[in-house]
């Protein structure tokens, strides 16, 4: 197998395994664990197998093209540093799988757990062996996501949900920051390829964008590694199942941050900003984490704060910018992973066996589980930095670096003291852990009777503790060469000389170690009694909970703040929206004039016709009147609206547009009837409220709207005037005028445009009409009137009562008398209008008219019948099937359009010519006429459908109220 393949397999296998595991049945514990373990083991073997190539070539690479033009390829690149991490990830992953098999309860949906775990492993491997920064971000975010799922595994538990949410929010935020930082790096370097980036350190550090890059990348790293001030998510994440903590919060997830810092160390480190930001965060995390750890009652809480502290130590080491510091940091990454993973597992065993993790409730467990206790003690000792254990070695290196001078600053001066203080705290919490769990009196009220766990649950701890010991005693033989490979991969030519010996003689670091060990022990002795009964959390800082502050901020910003902002920046009311639309449109239209000036054109008065001016005096009055009266006098406004329409229609005639006048008039009639039909269902509106009583605010709003209306009107006037007084450009109109008859076969150019030149527009237009008619129909199907509209109108009730009160009258006499004579005339008009509609239709192509006006005219004939004799009467006599007419019209238009395909012409190509008919002679025949017939049928159907659907509401209500009345009678 080539190295490339094994690289790809290392990534692909965990994800494939994850998918395979998740489809397993819920109770397939062993199968899931076996599969997961196998995947981890294969990963370990694959990684191990490529070590030789890494030694030979420095790194193995695999390039798969993904988004080459964007500089994002699936590039994998494993050097010594990545190799070390890959080994840790798959190795500890394997151990965690074994451990989890015994830890997880049979009731849990275990396949899901292992699936997430494998996916996480894959993502983590991806982070360490990505050869492209963006790909790294991809895997980085995946680790956040899967850690979210793993932390929230027991999602019935509120603390698991909170912990998961917080972890994802913070690490997700960091990931996005990282993405931004990498984008900037890409911007500077011209590539996202890791090799090129690593080679461009000088360029980046000297550029003005260095600080933003640094801050963004650190945001990613610090959030991931739970560094101050983003540390607080980690303790909350302890709600995760313990195997998750053992894996994510010791060896992998949280290590990603410091991994990244080390990875980019050659690019970003060594500047003043780096030293300050990274150093400060590291020191704070180191000391505060350790301090907080002492006062945790929860074993896992203690370990979580300890993790923060140890990662702070690593960060601090990296901040120094010295190669030796980097070596120490990398070394401590490995050491911390081993002892912390084993400690988490031990904590899990304790929890598993006793049912609690509260150190105030635990004690004396050594008697019940001496083996586990011993292992835990060794691991704790490593954590505390006791000699002959791996923790001691890296801490020693840390002390050595702390006393060296790197930059002349307070931070540098404070480093040795902080180092000793933090280490002493570490000793104190380590001792506390061991002492309060395994020694002292046996508590009486443990939930379960403790005993040693099954062998395979302890086995992973044994291996890890063994590693701690081996590395601690013979570092040169065990970790030495591998560490060297890793360090060389990071530092390259800057790799310093360093020694992994256990004994360096009596040096200051040794003295500091002793001081820390002794100080820590004394500190624990002093605090022992207090710790046995104190509240959770450190004294003085107990109230200062980062996580609570964070949650408050998150809620304030992302919930209350967002809602406030949304209501301020937006609205759910219609009027403001329309107002905004008007304002924006006015600004948009005015802007070009503001920029380029406004030339209104010449003012012509002599051409003005007095009659025309008079016509528009009427029109203007109608329009203003309609605007004035629409609130309280709807009928009046409707009539005035009709007046304005009429004047518009006259204008069309005046300026040579007979077709428009015709259409406008017909539409006008139908619209009036339509709105009248609607008025029936609107509420009564009284004029009781006198305008004088309006509030100042309302009046101001009205003035504002008035100003806007005036602005719009003026604007339209100015623009229209400017265009009308300009010489027209050479338009496409001449083509239509010259070709209408010769090629379109019609003299009415407008109609030829509508059915031929631009028949496609008409095609769409009739579709609109049919859609609207269908919508109206659909809506009215479910129409429910307001309570005050259910009863018949007042007039009808009064007239009915009038009729009923008189012995010589039948109910309904009034209406039948009322309509008796008009109905006769209206009926006789029915055939007349039909003929008229046929006339309008036939002449359309040559003279004003056409399918549309004919359709509306015929629809009017129907409406008239409904008006005269009522819905029932008409529908008893006529088959009114408007939906079918619509369908027919639409299909006919489409078929006529498609008919031209038969002749090899594009859609809607028209045929026009003359057909010789016997007796009649030559008759113009154009396919456009058939198209127009489709239009006619559709318009008729749509208009009738809309009006009739509305009209039907009256009889529906009548029927409904009758049924309701009958129901009431039956009940009574």
């Amino acid at each position: 197998m080539t190295d490339e393949t094994s690289l790809v397999l290392m990534i692909v296998l965990p994800f494939a395994g994850s998918l395979a595991v998740i489809v397993l049945p819920k109770n397939a514990r062993n199968a899931a664990a076996t599969l997961a373990g196998a995947v981890a083991l294969i990963g370990l073997v694959l990684a191990a197998g490529s070590y030789r190539s890494i030694l030979d070539r420095g790194a193995v690479r695999s390039d798969i093209q993904w988004l080459p033009t964007l500089g994002l390829d699936f590039t994998l690149r494993m050097d010594g540093f990545a190799w070390l991490f890959a080994m840790l990830i798959s190795g500890i992953g394997f151990l965690v799988v074994i451990y989890a098999r015994y830890y997880m309860s049979p009731e849990d949906p275990v396949p899901r757990f292992f699936s997430f775990l494998l996916a996480f492993m894959g993502s983590m491997l991806g982070v360490v062996i990505s050869g492209n920064l963006i790909l790294l971000v991809v895997f980085w975010e995946l680790t956040s996501i899967f850690s979210f799922l793993l932390i929230g595994y027991w999602h019935r538990n509120a603390s698991a949900r909170d912990g998961a949410r917080m972890a994802l929010t913070i690490t997700g935020l960091g990931g996005l920051g990282l993405l931004a930082g990498f984008l900037l790096i890409g911007h500077l370097v011209g590539s996202y390829d890791l090799d090129r980036v690593l080679a461009s350190g000088d360029l980046i550090r000297s550029h003005g964008l260095y600080v933003p890059i640094l801050v963004l990348v650190l945001l990613g790293a610090f959030t991931k590694s739970a560094q101050f001030p983003f540390h607080f998510w980690l303790p909350n994440a302890m709600a995760a199942p313990t195997p998750v903590s053992a894996y994510l919060h010791s060896a992998t997830m949280v290590k990603a941050g410091v991994f990244l810092l080390a990875r980019l160390w050659p690019v970003l480190a060594g500047t003043y900003e780096w030293f300050w930001i990274v150093g400060f965060a590291g020191m704070m995390s180191f000391v505060l984490g350790a301090y907080f750890a002492i006062f945790q009652r929860d074993v896992k809480g203690l370990l979580a704060y300890s993790t923060i502290s140890h990662l702070g130590l690593i960060t601090l080491l990296l901040s120094l910018g010295s190669p030796l510091g980097a070596v120490a940091a990398i070394f401590h990454m490995i050491n911390h992973a081993t002892f912390k993973a084993s400690l988490f597992m031990a904590a899990g065993i304790i929890d598993h066996e006793t049912g609690t993790r509260d150190m105030q409730r635990l004690g004396g467990l050594f008697r019940f589980m001496p083996y586990t206790a011993t292992l835990a003690m060794v691991a704790s000792a490593a954590m505390a930095g006791v000699p002959l254990l791996n923790g001691f070695l890296s801490k020693e290196m840390f002390f050595a670096e702390a006393i060296a001078t790197h930059a002349d600053s307070i931070l540098d001066t404070a480093a040795p003291y902080a180092a000793v203080l933090g280490s002493a705290f570490a000793v104190a919490y380590s001792v506390r852990f061991i002492h309060s769990v395994f020694f002292g009196p046996l508590p009486a009220d443990l939930p379960r009777e403790p005993h040693e766990p099954p062998f395979f649950m302890r086995f992973p701890i044994q291996l890890l503790v063994l590693a701690c010991l081996l590395v601690g005693i013979v570092p040169g033989l065990t970790i030495g060469p591998f560490l060297h490979t890793a360090v060389t991969a990071v530092l390259g030519s800057a790799t310093p000389e360093y020694s992994l010996a256990v004994w360096h003689g009596f040096t200051i670091p040794l003295f500091m170690s002793v001081l820390a060990l002794a100080g820590g022990a004394i500190l624990y002795l002093l605090l022992k009694d207090y710790l046995a009964r104190c509240e959770d959390g450190p004294p003085y800082l107990r109230r200062l909970r980062g996580q609570r502050v964070f949650e408050r901020v998150v809620v304030a910003v992302s919930w209350r703040g967002a809602r406030f902002m949304e209501s301020r920046l937006g609205t759910r009311r219609l009027q403001p929206q329309l107002r905004l639309l008007v304002v924006v449109a006015v600004i948009a239209a005015a802007w070009p004039f503001y920029r380029l000036g406004f030339d209104p054109g010449r003012l012509t008065v002599q051409g003005a016709d007095v009659s025309f001016a008079g016509i528009w005096a009427i029109g203007v009055l109608c329009a203003l009147g309609a605007a004035w009266q629409a609130k309280f006098h709807r009928l009046f406004a409707l009539i005035l609206l009709g007046g304005a329409g009429l004047v518009t229609c006259i204008t069309f005639v005046w300026f040579s547009a007979p077709d428009l006048a015709l259409t406008q008039l017909l539409v006008e009639v139908v619209t009036t009837v339509l709105i009248l039909l609607g008025l029936r269902w609107l509420p009564k509106r009284s004029t009781d409220v006198t305008p004088g009583l309006a509030t100042t605010g309302a009046r101001l709003r009205r003035y504002r709207d008035l100003a806007m209306a005036v602005t719009c009107g003026t604007g339209m006037t100015m623009i229209a005037y400017a265009v009308m007084t300009r010489t027209p450009p050479a338009t496409i109109a001449d083509f239509f005028l010259t070709k209408a008859y010769s090629e379109g076969g019609g003299r009415n150019v407008v109609n030829v445009i509508l059915v031929d030149f631009r028949g496609f527009d008409t095609f769409g237009e009739i579709t609109v009409l049919s859609i609207v008619a269908l919508t109206v129909f659909a809506l009215l199907r479910r129409f429910r009137p307001a309570p005050d509209n259910v009863a018949p109108p007042e007039q009808q009730r009064l007239q009915r009562a009038f009729d009923e009160a008189r012995p010589y009258r039948e109910a309904g006499d009034t209406v039948s008398d009322y309509l008796l004579i008009p109905a006769v005339i209206m009926q006789w008009l029915f055939p007349v209008i039909i003929v008229f509609a046929a006339y309008l239709f036939m002449r359309g192509h040559d003279l004003p008219g056409g399918g549309f006006v004919a359709g509306i005219a015929l629809a009017t004939a129907f409406i008239l019948q409904y008006l005269a004799a009522g819905t029932r009467w008409v529908e008893d006599r006529l088959r009114v099937l408007p939906v079918n007419w619509i369908g027919f019209g639409l299909l006919l238009a489409a078929l006529v359009g498609a008919g031209s395909w038969l002749f090899g012409y594009p859609f809607l190509t028209s045929y026009s010519g003359y057909v010789e008919l016997p007796l009649i002679g030559s008759v113009p025949a154009a396919s456009a006429t058939l198209f127009d017939l489709g239009v006619f049928s559709l318009v008729l159907g749509a208009t009738v459908l809309m009006l009739i659907a509305l009209a039907h509401q009256s009889i529906r209500r009548l029927r409904a109220s009758r049924i309701a009345a009958q129901g009431n009678e039956e009940i009574a």
């Binding site: 008079g614 016509i615 229609c649 005639v653 009639v669 009837v673 009248l676 004003p848 009522g870 009209a951």
Partner: protein, 93 residues
């Protein structure tokens, strides 16, 4: 000569019709009640129809005729609907 006669008479006729429409509008605005307004709007329509016919004469063309015909044949539909609404509170029962 004919041209002048026609032009003048059309202009005068249009002004007279305009005055007629203006009177109708005045009544429309003044009301006082809905039936007056509806009646005036009907008168307005008739005035408009005649105005359209005068265009036919002025333009020497019959293309405006249909518009007038539409007013004559269908213009009453909206008036009738308005009137029925007044009487019955509902246009189609």
């Amino acid at each position: 000569m004919s041209g002048v006669i026609i032009a003048w008479s059309v202009t005068i006729a249009q002004l007279l019709l305009l005055a007629a429409m203006a009177c109708a509008l005045l009544r429309l605005v003044r009301g006082p009640r809905a039936q007056d307004r509806i009646l005036s709007s009907d008168a307005l329509y008739v005035g408009a129809m005649l105005l359209l016919l005068t265009f036919g004469i002025r333009a020497g063309s019959t293309v405006y005729f249909e518009a007038a015909l539409v007013v004559a044949l269908l213009g009453f539909v909206s008036t009738a609907a308005l009137a029925k609404f007044l009487m019955r509170g509902e246009v189609i029962e």
